[in-house]
């Protein structure tokens, strides 16, 4: 436990010395502020053009941020040889990985909190309407998105040999999950019988954190009906309290699965070495 805290503390310190963290902080703050100010005559509540473009911004920026910072941190351990050193100590792999994860989470969540804090204060000062529920929903789902992609980042950091590889894989994963996702799915599902499309689409959606977080936010913002009659039951269910609970469970399953796998790989490598 104390090992884990030590690793986390070190991670936080290193994280805030990393210029990447600040460039993302500035990018996120500037973008979210300008989005708000462009639509300055409109209040921000429910699912509308303003919240829609904010959601897109979050989906573009936050996964990329988590993937970069997370995977770089792990590959740095390998490149700088500190993991080789640490593995000779009686430090558990689990403590190490969890420490890494928590430390990086603190760094990322701080960046997000800063951005949202600034956004909230500026909206109030400018005299705009920002519904508190919508604000909190955005905040919590930005955090969720970051934590999920951080787990993915640990995967990348594990599999990549060095920083350049991590960068390449990160961009690839980001492009695949955020931008190319519909294109690929439409292309693949087009070959399948019509009746398979919807169930497979739903299953694939569960596998892509960017996609299920986006849909969850859209539905929670009251925009579920835009998904059409096909998903009417899903929308009704997710909109209810049990939907939020299930989302939380899905979130946990995702995190636990990724972290367990990553730990297992590191453990195996360690024992081989």
């Amino acid at each position: 436990m104390s090992d884990m805290l030590q690793v986390a503390k070190k991670e936080i310190k290193v994280g805030f010395r990393n210029p990447w963290a600040y460039s993302f902080l500035v990018l996120f703050s500037v973008f979210s502020l300008s989005l708000l100010l462009i639509n300055s005559q409109n209040e921000i509540s429910g699912y509308s053009g303003v919240t829609g473009s904010m959601l897109s911004l979050i989906l573009y920026l936050l996964p990329l941020m988590s993937l970069f910072l997370g995977s770089f941190s792990l590959t740095a351990e390998k490149e700088e040889g500190s993991w080789q050193l640490l593995s000779t100590y009686p430090l558990g792999t689990l403590s190490f990985m969890l420490g890494k994860y928590f430390g990086l989470s603190v760094v990322l969540l701080t960046i997000i909190s800063f951005g949202y804090g600034l956004m909230g204060i500026v909206t109030v000062l400018v005299g705009k309407m920002f519904e508190v529920n919508t604000y909190l929903l955005f905040l919590s789902f930005s955090c969720g998105l970051v934590l999920l992609f951080l787990a993915l980042a640990l995967w990348i950091g594990t599999l990549a040999k060095n920083r350049w590889q991590a960068l390449t894989i990160s961009v690839m994963i980001w492009f695949f999950t955020v931008i190319a996702w519909p294109t690929i799915l439409i292309a693949v599902l087009g070959f399948l019988p019509y009746l398979w499309i919807k169930p497979l689409l739903v299953i694939f959606t569960f596998l892509n954190p960017a996609e299920f977080v986006r849909l969850f936010v859209v539905i929670k913002l009251g925009g579920g009906s835009v998904l059409g009659p096909e998903y009417y039951q899903w929308v009704g269910w997710i909109h209810s309290a049990s939907g939020s609970f299930s989302f939380f469970v899905l979130f946990l399953v995702w995190l636990l699965f990724s972290l367990t796998c990553v730990c297992w790989i590191w453990e195996r490598r360690r024992s081989r070495a």
Partner: protein
Amino acid sequence: MKKGFVALSFILVLIVVAGCGKKTYQPQAINEDVDVCVICNMQVKDDAFATQIVTKEGKSLKFDDIGCMNEWKSQNGTDEIGMAYVRDYNDKEWIEYEKAAYVYDASIRTPMAYGLVSFKDKKSAEQFIQEQSVGQLLSSEDLANHKWEQSKGMMDMDMHMHDDGDAHGNSHEHDENRHEDSTGH
């Protein structure tokens, strides 16, 4: 959690079902909350007038009146149709379009006023004609040459059912107007 699993296993079952039963078509149940007529955008009521086309690829298209289904056929052709379904007037059971018997009269009220009702067999259709003392018995082959006229002004039949019930002497008048309308159309 449980619900999620139920949903997931449901999907898996769906996939299996979809994979196995490829060439048999199944009509879907009507869900009044979300089903709207493909042609006229009106809510499809879960009643005897609802019709349905299941395409060859398994897509289900629902209509609130057999006339709207006919309209779809004339727009899109019949090549893609796997099976068309109508409902029995009496017990709302889905029946295949070809196997059903039909009764037409301009005064029969249907949601989009095409004046056609469907029955699972000739016998119940004849019985209906006897009870109503109007109507012309048609088979699905006869429908190919049917004129598909809408009696303007008597849409959404159930909304005017009470005219029949209140017997204030004007329901007869309505009937007459209807005949005029349908001929003038």
